[in-house]
């Protein structure tokens, strides 16, 4: 553990203080498979393990960053955690209640507590409905406010996400990308959730606007005691918002750990390569880049043994034969590697 540092964000410090031992959400050996290429012929089609036996805890008041390249299964995992997808194996609990196979009715209380934010909010905003109607509907469906309370709450929400109150009467197309994402956030906040799963919420935005939304996420967490699962491919953004990070590769978590320590001293060769691959204006030329050969293998046909063994510069024979499990390296760090880096 790094010693408390005043230069570190206040959020990380408060997170450490409020971190409790009982997870808010907990996944054990979670599996999600898809069948692709199925035709009428029986036995055709192949099984794709998008989420391959993932175990993961989300603790109250933390921001868990979920990073990985395309095909890593991070979005699928996010959708399993919010139960937008049915789960094919393992268990998922929220506040100690098993919701792995809960039906729509049983999920309703959980839906109020767990909300999802998507990359492209405009796809989920009905173009013919004003912001007011979109937000009010959520309040009514979940019976959160009634009568004049609704209007009061709408104004609160607009203030929270930094939109002018008069925008309530506008239609989605009248907003810019950043503003639409603010509306998406307002809709998620409307039900006063405990956990928000955000799937690439800033990756469609321009840098200067992206920074605004990243700051908004930080502010909201402070003010509303939110817990986030923040899914993104941009490691710099994830570092900025997360207190803990899980790195995914081909449907598995290869490493988790406290953000600053993980970025400073990655233990999995993939994490190390990923970090070294990011071009950085702030430390120009000051690092050595590890160039991985090839690309992520097809999840339809993952390598035997360690899934990263085909691209790993450190791979030994055992790596190609035995799949390493995610094991604790220290209290703060878990890694799935036969030869974790020192």
């Amino acid at each position: 553990m790094m010693p408390p540092d005043l230069s570190k964000p206040a959020s990380a410090a408060s997170e450490a203080a409020s971190a409790s031992d009982t997870p808010l959400m907990s996944a054990r050996s979670l599996v999600k498979t898809f069948t692709v290429g199925r035709t009428l012929r029986p036995g055709s089609g192949r099984t794709l393990h998008a989420v391959d036996a993932i175990s993961l805890d989300v603790f109250p008041a933390e921001t868990l960053g979920l990073v990985g390249e395309s095909g890593s299964g991070k979005s699928t995992l996010g959708r399993c955690l919010t139960r937008l997808y049915d789960i094919d194996g393992g268990t998922l609990t929220f506040e100690g209640v098993d919701i792995t196979r809960a039906d729509a009715r049983a999920l309703k209380p959980m839906r109020r507590n767990v909300q999802m934010i998507f990359q492209d909010p405009s796809a989920s905003l009905n173009p013919r409905r004003r912001v007011r109607d979109v937000l009010a509907e959520v309040l009514k469906v979940h019976r959160i406010r009634e009568g004049a309370g609704i209007e009061q709450r709408l104004l609160e929400l607009m203030d929270l996400v930094g939109l002018r109150r008069e925008y309530l009467d506008r239609y989605p197309h009248e907003f810019s990308g950043g503003q639409r994402q603010r509306i998406g956030i307002a809709r998620a906040l409307a039900v006063e959730p405990k956990l928000i799963v955000a799937d690439e919420p800033v990756s469609a935005l321009d840098v200067s606007v992206q920074a605004q939304i990243v700051n908004l996420f930080s502010d909201l967490r402070e003010r509303l005691d939110l817990t986030y699962v923040f899914i993104a491919h941009d490691l710099a953004v994830v570092r900025q918002v997360s207190s803990r990070v899980a790195v995914m590769y081909l449907g598995s978590i290869v490493e988790t750990g406290e953000t600053d320590a993980l970025y400073a001293r990655p233990s999995h060769p993939y994490t190390q390569a990923l970090l070294s691959a990011i071009p950085q204006p702030h430390n120009r030329g000051s690092r050595e880049r590890i160039l991985l050969s090839g690309e992520i293998p097809s999840p339809l046909d993952p390598p035997t043994g360690c899934k990263f063994s085909t691209r790993c510069p450190q791979a030994q024979d055992i790596c190609r034969q035995v799949r390493p499990v995610l094991a604790a390296l220290s209290t703060e760090r878990q890694v799935a590697c036969h030869f974790p880096l020192g």
């Binding site: 950043g178 900025q240 953000t259 691959a277 990011i278 204006p281 702030h282 430390n283 160039l291």
Partner: protein
């Protein structure tokens, strides 16, 4: 690195591009000037709508002549690109200037093999047999790092991964050994580990083939990694240009300051808040004569409503009313504010 000794390959002066729209002409690029020396990598960086892609298309004369007015001067090896006949333009496109597109998924025609498409370009410019063109295609695919070029040459685009496809696009752009490669966000659609491979490839190609490269991107990280010189575009204008080293060391324009502050660092102490730029970029139809960044600029003043002057400091130049030493003082306040945060 300086390239003063190398001759100028491309010289753009006062380039202005306007589109005819239903609501009258819209100027997407205003009075843009820059030059590229032989073997140099110039990066044009900007957010969406800044006019960087429009600028690039004018270099190849690819704008629709019916709906687009292109003014100014684009001189490539001493020839005015904007005044060339369509036939003369075609002999430059692909042969002397190669294009690398953003999305390798859509940049190749889906119904032809990679080899066919590369050979097509070679044969458009050289009298060469189909067999010889195909052989060249195989060589080129090996050159850009495809592991099995003999096999890849007969693959259709959809049969290749994103990274392999982008390599194929690069091989095609290189096929006639052009003096200039223009790359439009060549790594944006790729994963970081693949992006690193492609950037590495571009740097190696510059060394092996000696091509100059204009790299268009929104990613300051990519810029810092590969560019010799940078031009920052905002609202249709180049607001700052200079050598990469100097630009990252001490950016001149308040927009560049904001851009740098918007990027979360990957190492060192984390910031409590990112230094974001308030507001959002203007759409091209809302840009007037004055500084396009003024509405979002913390240091805007009355003079910003007029055409901003070009101020040069060393190898850098910025379109901004701020003058030394006031500019340096303001920069110090911005930096200390970031540190306090």
């Amino acid at each position: 690195m300086t390239f003063v000794e190398k001759p100028i390959l491309l010289d753009v002066n006062g380039l202005t591009v306007a589109f005819a729209t239903d609501r009258g002409p819209v100027t997407a690029v205003r009075d843009v000037s820059f030059s590229v020396r032989e073997g140099e990598i110039l990066s044009i960086v900007g957010e969406s709508g800044s006019g960087k892609s429009v600028t690039l298309l004018s270099l190849l004369g690819l704008h629709d002549r019916k709906t687009t007015r292109v003014n100014g001067m684009v001189s490539f090896r001493g020839r005015g690109i904007l005044d060339l006949s369509p036939g003369e333009l075609r002999s430059i496109r692909g042969r002397e200037i190669g294009l690398i597109s953003q999305d390798p998924m859509t940049a190749l025609t889906p119904v032809y093999t990679i080899g066919w498409q590369i050979a097509e370009q070679i044969r458009a410019h050289e009298r060469i047999s189909a067999r010889a063109a195909r052989k060249r295609a195989v060589e080129l695919l090996g050159e850009v790092g495809l592991s099995n070029p003999q096999e890849a040459v007969d693959r259709y685009p959809h049969q290749l991964s994103g990274g392999m496809r982008q390599r194929a696009v690069i091989a095609m752009a290189l096929s006639c050994n052009p003096a200039l490669l223009v790359a439009d966000e060549p790594t944006t659609a790729l994963d970081v580990t693949v992006q690193a491979q492609v950037l590495d490839l571009l740097l190696r190609l510059r060394k092996d083939f000696g091509s100059a490269i204009i790299l268009i991107t929104h990613d300051m990280g990519v810029v810092s990694e590969v560019a010799d010189r940078v031009a920052v575009m905002y609202a249709g204008r180049i607001v700052e240009r200079g050598e990469t080293e100097a630009m990252f060391e001490s950016p001149l324009h308040p927009y560049s300051w904001g851009l740098m502050g918007s990027i979360p660092p990957l190492a060192g102490p984390r910031l409590a808040r990112l230094k974001s730029i308030p507001g959002m970029p203007p759409t091209p139809d809302r840009i007037g004569e004055g500084c396009g960044f003024a509405p979002r600029c913390a240091f805007a003043r009355a003079a910003c409503l007029e055409r901003p002057p070009l101020r040069k400091i060393g190898t850098q130049a910025a379109l901004c009313v701020l003058e030394e030493p006031e500019r340096a003082a303001l920069r110090r306040t911005v930096l200390s504010a970031e540190e306090l945060a």
